[in-house]
Symmetry: C2
Subunit: 103 residues, 2 copies
């Protein structure tokens, strides 16, 4: 079974404005919180979100293209992971601060 | 001479999504970087920005209403300060991470 990583920026291409814009939306923040509790990643379809499948796909794409998450295929499934190491290296503390926010 | 603090959210009213949206824009990030180097605040007119006065005022208002900055009058001048303590208390590390981003 082949695995494919969906297009994403390299660490050096990640821009802080884009990361902040990606994080600054309630549904996307819910996704990031869920992924932060799942080091092995989450199948996109398993994310419980109050939106349609196409809206969910849109938000996941925005997070991926901003460099916040990484998504790869696993058979017919798509698994997403938080790019915690990349974000911590680029912006030490940012993700921790965001995740510590009261909901 | 009286001083007036312009309307701003209390610490408990600040929302992380709104803060992230406020920070996720290049001009506003430039303002935040400038204020982070000026603990005594900066007169809004002294900020060197590649935008018109009205656009600058709009960005300052967004930052203020999000809870990122505080603005008060000083005679005819408006002085803005970064709400570093409030942000650090609410989202420890977030501001440091954002400010550590390469420009």
């Amino acid at each position: 079974m082949t695995t494919k990583v969906l297009p994403q920026p390299d660490r050096a291409e990640i821009r802080v404005e884009t990361v902040l814009q990606a994080l600054g939306e309630p549904v996307r923040l819910t996704i990031v919180r869920a992924l932060s509790d799942a080091p092995a990643g989450i199948c996109c379809g398993d994310l419980e979100l109050p939106v349609t499948a196409s809206t969910r796909a849109h938000h996941l794409k925005m997070l991926r293209e901003a460099g916040v998450i990484s998504t790869h295929t696993d058979g017919t499934r798509r698994i997403s992971l938080l790019r915690r190491d990349d974000l911590e290296d680029l912006y030490p503390g940012l993700l921790t601060g965001v995740l510590s926010a009261k909901q």
